[in-house]
């Protein structure tokens, strides 16, 4: 029975769930956003500290299931040190991976590959996307010159 389930709860994912990265508050927040999944009530708060166009540090706090917490933890890990353009590209790749669209061949996902098993559990895809959508909305709002992004709901 748990073949499928093991695909969802891969070891890497469970490791991120147990020991989430990015759990320290930042001294300085350049980007801040909150998101929630209205079907289950899960909530996420994330913040980025920038150095020019690069992510210097990341804070992620997720009250949610293993999938949403692990995804947020991976986000914290993988975005650190990247430029905002790179971050957006990663977010787009993850979304493509989870919604069954073509993923660029050269995409190097690292731990994030562990999220690919979520695809087989359609009702859980929004858990995996919650943190990424919240981040992308924040970046888009920033580009549009808004102070604060509208609170994200992952539908």
């Amino acid at each position: 029975m748990s073949d499928n389930l093991d695909d969802l709860y891969r070891d890497i994912l469970m490791e991120h769930y147990r020991f989430p990265r990015g759990h320290h508050h930042l001294e300085h927040e350049d980007i801040h956003n909150e998101g929630q999944n209205p079907t289950c009530g899960d909530e996420i708060e994330l913040a980025l500290e920038l150095e020019g166009d690069r992510v210097k540090d990341v804070y992620v706090s997720c009250m949610g299931c293993a999938v949403s917490v692990a995804s947020g933890s991976m986000l914290a890990e993988v975005t650190k040190g990247k430029t905002l353009e790179e971050v957006k590209k990663i977010a787009a790749t993850i979304k493509a991976m989870l919604t069954g669209e073509a993923v660029p061949k050269d995409a190097d996902l690292g731990d994030l590959e562990a999220l690919s098993g979520v695809k087989k559990f359609p009702v859980r895809v929004k858990c995996a996307l919650l943190s990424w959508t919240t981040l992308v909305n924040a970046l888009e709002a920033r580009e549009k010159g808004k102070e604060k992004a509208p609170s994200t709901t992952e539908q």
Partner: protein, 430 residues
């Protein structure tokens, strides 16, 4: 069923009259084809009846039969099919009127679901009767269906919205009820049974106080009407809302009961065909009601198939269903209490609670729990169950909910308990 049978024959195919017979959930289970379905290699254990119930063969067959034999628009034609469809559609209305304690058929309005029924009251009676300075009283344990319409009404009219609080055990805290239902209260709207906590509220007492203040009372019966005898006249509710799909019937059909003197003074919510009468049949009381609230072609198929659902429930007996669920809920609560990693919400006293049991595992998130249980063929619900403020009040974002019905057995509970233990092992907490 392969066509060719009249409604009367469908009815006869139901289980024998079981009055005085042993309640046999195992046997009822066999009346529900879906309950023998395999899910991921094991037989389905369905513990999500508070969301929607499964349907017995008589209901499924009735849908089939409706389209094979009787399909026509209602109240519109004089041909045989239209006559049959209309008669069946109205027969269900009579049945519903009887089922909730013998009210007038004019007092039974078909809606899409309980949500629409409540919205109708808020947007018709509400705007006609509520103004700035008035008070709307609801409770902290309402489903969004009986919460959001009142938030919006209060926002639009300037009336204040005041909540009857709940205590730590999950009962309504009635200590300040007399102050909460103040003289400026126009409506008190509350759930009869909580879909999260299972709490059965003392509606009689609250309605009596509402009436003393000159307010009307709306009862959300979405979780009570399917699971226990409900006599709307005895409780003296002015409005009662419930959904067919939560009581063995098809989706897309709900009921608004309203006292005739209130309904007759209410503005329709929608306008179109049907609500202005073109009636040719000489039903004694047919007048404006109930049709003025039923604009357009309704869900005829659902009304047709709701009749055998109600007959099925009546044959078993609502008292018997309630007793079975009390016993089974007690069994589930005992077993859950034996799991130190599980925390159960809601009252423990079976006399004051129904079979919706919400809980959390101290480590495993409800979403993960529900996904895990699904791999064992066990269907539960995880989330805030459309009662987000209540869930937050409990100090969590979501809970896992197992909810029972007449077809659930001790074995279903045993499997749930085994599943909860296995989840601990799978997620390596044990």
């Amino acid at each position: 069923m392969k066509g060719g049978k009249s409604m009367a024959e469908v009815v006869q195919r139901e289980p024998e009259n079981r009055i005085g017979m042993e309640f046999n959930a195992e046997k009822y289970k066999t009346d529900f084809p879906i309950l023998s379905r395999m899910i991921r290699g094991t037989k389905l254990v369905y513990l999500d009846s508070a969301a929607t119930t499964q349907k017995p063969r008589v209901v499924i067959d009735a849908v089939d039969q409706y389209y094979r034999l009787h399909n026509a628009n209602v109240h519109r034609g004089l041909h045989t099919l239209a006559e049959e469809a209309t008669a069946a559609y109205e027969a269900t209305r009579d049945k519903i009127a009887g089922f909730i304690g013998g009210v007038k058929r004019e007092e039974i309005i078909y809606t899409r679901n309980a949500t629409e029924a409540i919205n109708m009251v808020a947007s018709s009676w509400g705007y006609q009767n509520i103004k700035k300075g008035d008070r709307i009283v609801i409770t902290q344990m309402e489903h969004h269906a009986n919460l959001v319409p009142w938030i919006v009404l209060s926002r639009k009219t300037g009336a204040e919205l005041v909540y009857i609080p709940i205590d730590p055990e999950g009962y309504l805290d009635l200590a300040d009820l007399k102050d909460i239902i103040a003289p400026n209260t126009k409506i008190v709207a509350l759930t009869h049974m909580s879909n999260v906590l299972g709490t059965i509220n003392p509606v009689d007492e609250i309605i009596a106080l509402a009436h003393k203040r000159g307010a009307v009372a709306l009862v959300d019966g979405a979780q009570s009407v399917p699971h226990m005898p409900v006599d709307v006249r005895a409780m003296d509710a002015d409005f009662l809302a419930f959904s067919a799909h939560k009581m063995l019937g098809p989706t897309g059909l709900g009921v608004l009961y309203g006292k005739e003197e209130l309904l007759s003074r209410m503005e329709p919510v929608q306008y179109g065909g049907e609500m202005i009468s073109e009636v040719r049949y000489d039903y004694a009381a047919w007048n404006e009601l109930p049709h003025k609230f039923e604009a357009g072609t309704p869900n005829i198929e659902a009304a047709f198939a709701f009749l055998p659902a109600l007959e099925y429930l009546e044959k078993i007996g609502m008292e018997n269903i309630r007793r079975h669920e009390m016993e089974l809920t007690g069994y589930a609560l005992d077993k859950l209490a034996g799991l130190e990693f599980i925390k159960v919400f809601g009252p423990k006293d079976l006399n004051h609670r129904g079979g919706a049991v919400s809980f959390i595992d101290k480590n495993i998130h409800p979403h993960d729990m529900a996904t895990f249980l699904d791999t064992l063929g066990i269907a539960v619900r995880a989330g805030h169950h459309c009662a987000q403020p209540l869930t937050r009040l409990l100090g969590v974002n979501s809970t896992t909910r197992a909810s029972l019905y007449l077809y659930n057995t001790h074995n279903d509970i045993d499997q749930l308990i085994t599943g909860l233990k296995e989840a601990r092992r799978y997620f390596r907490y044990e």
